[in-house]
Symmetry: C2
Subunit: 345 residues, 2 copies
């Protein structure tokens, strides 16, 4: 265990090679799982690695191999607040689980200003990561296009539009919304309204589509799709309040509401209480997301659950695949949602 000169203490590849009585190349091949190594050499190298407690130097690897073994998880700062929801931690947990037995590192990148966005673009151009995971992408976000242009592997959580070109993993928003509204109708609700998200978000439009489909396919008595029953929210609680007030004015006879998010449902619930409407007796309510709020509302909110952790896992898996293969085949994955029945309907 001679520790000569300016040596940092950690064993190097070369030292492993020496100990195993083989060349540097052979050790490298063993580490990287190359098949062109004899069993004898492989065993010797593995023994030497274990004895020395050798851990490859990431930086050297990255420099020589022109890769980084790191992927970035990009979160637009304005969204982080929304992500106080279990949603965010579930996604991260899923990603972490998928990455666990890889030796990929997960870099967390918060982007709050255009300046930081530009800086991150530089990062990308300098190839400081092998791939990028993007959550909460808006339609006008230039980042996905930049990524595509740089031929940087990337996976979005959600999509910007029906024509999304970059790989994505999304939940079945249309199906979830349809199920929620169908449930409301099945329970005998006749005037079912919806509180939507901002129309420039694909996810909001999808949930509205689901609502529309359910309403239109419901047999007689409902009178089909009625725009007066659609109020626009913005995924915030206050937005939910405003929308609910509007709806109450426009259609006082409302007996069911599908809110495109639990937070908006919470806002709507508060307004309903103020207006003296009972939930679910007078007005039934369904949310979307199955967040903690849903469970803690009074009455507990029926909501549409997304397979959040699974989405995280899938995103990571898809990204790793895309990194592994050179050709850039786009993958589009849509995972099923599920209605969680509680007491609000």
């Amino acid at each position: 265990m001679a520790m000569n000169g300016r040596h940092s203490g950690r064993p190097t590849l070369e030292e492993v090679a020496l100990r195993a009585g083989v060349g540097r190349g052979t050790v490298s091949r063993v580490i990287n799982g190359s098949p062109r190594v004899s069993d004898r050499a492989k065993a010797a190298v593995e023994a030497a690695i274990a004895e020395l407690g050798y851990v490859p130097n990431r930086a050297a690897r990255a420099l020589a191999g022109n890769r980084t073994d790191a992927i970035a998880l990009v979160i637009p700062e304005p969204e982080t607040r929304l992500f106080a929801e279990p949603y965010f931690s579930d996604i991260i947990r899923g990603i972490g689980a998928e990455l666990a037995d890889t030796d990929m590192q997960l870099l967390l990148t918060l982007i709050r200003t255009p300046k930081e966005r530009a800086r991150f673009a530089q990062y990308l151009a300098a190839h400081r990561v092998d791939g990028v995971l993007l959550v909460s992408v808006h339609e006008d976000d230039p980042l996905p296009d930049l990524l595509e242009q740089l031929e940087m592997p990337a996976v979005l959580n959600g999509r910007r539009s029906d024509l999304e070109s970059v790989s994505y993993v999304d939940a079945d928003n249309v199906g979830g919304a349809r199920a929620a509204v169908a449930h409301l109708i099945a329970r005998g609700r006749r005037q079912v309204a919806t509180i939507t998200g901002p129309p420039d978000m694909y996810v909001a439009r999808s949930r509205l589509d689901g609502y529309r489909q359910a309403v239109e396919s419901a047999a007689g008595g409902l009178g089909g799709f009625d725009t007066a029953l659609v109020a626009r929210g913005d995924f915030t609680e206050e937005g939910g309040r405003r929308a609910m007030r509007e709806l109450l004015v426009r259609r006082p006879g409302i007996d069911g509401v599908f809110a495109a998010s639990d937070v908006m449902a919470a806002g709507a619930r508060a307004v309903l209480r103020e207006a003296g409407r009972r939930v679910p007796e007078d007005v039934a309510l369904v949310g979307f997301e199955d967040s903690a709020i849903a469970r803690h509302m009074d009455p507990a909110l029926t909501s549409v659950r997304q397979p959040t952790e699974e989405m995280g896992r899938t995103m990571a898996r898809v990204l790793l695949e895309e990194i592994a293969e050179r050709a850039s085949v786009r993958r589009h994955v849509v995972l099923a949602t599920e209605l969680v029945q509680r007491d609000s309907v």
Copy 2:
């Protein structure tokens, strides 16, 4: 712009040097802000960097400089669920803000199994990060000691005990609890109970200390500290329920409860409702954390707010300082908490 051979396309230090008409060393000095550079050379280099769009290669830097420019944020997996609270995202936001104009990278490391813990230890030993940020540390966690032993800069969120040796940033749990209970007493409550966290967590003990201090320093009529008014919870909703039931049995005359977390307060609130006690008329309730749950409870829960984002910022700042200076001076920072009054008391 000759692009010879296997060149990756990105300009290198050498190319910048060539363009600026200086040597490699000078460019390096400019980039690293060394003062021993003439203004003329500096200007030339900066121009060349701008023209070429040069971005230093991180891996090469790390390899040559024997550092990584990265810090790890370590989150024990069992905790991630708790961190669905704004707490987690606020901490992250704070860290991100502080790191924004550094070129430190933030690595997210989830640890779920002992195996992964061992692996992370290897990481550390291999010096793949310059420093470590630890959240939600338990008393029996061996990681902080390992970090200390490796002389790896580290900052904990919270502390393991009064004698914590590693640097930490914590909220004033004692003060917050004291304020909460004092408030309860000031509102005329005579029998104020508390639901604690697990006694093997320092944070739980601190909040209990605050409770005790407030009770003991309250003038006559309360009869001082009464162990029958202390029920043990575990920071879960179910634990809050159990504790509340116990309390109701032991001291039916209870008119105030300080729960050491909002989640437990939610559990307690449910039990109180079942028992036909009104909040706050019959029993006043205060939580801790000021989470989303607090705002959404009915009635909205008065709670103790921690300066979460500020804690994140401080953690990052302290860690950067510790990395910058070679000597390992431990820093212990305690940030003030604040009582947020709502409707439950």
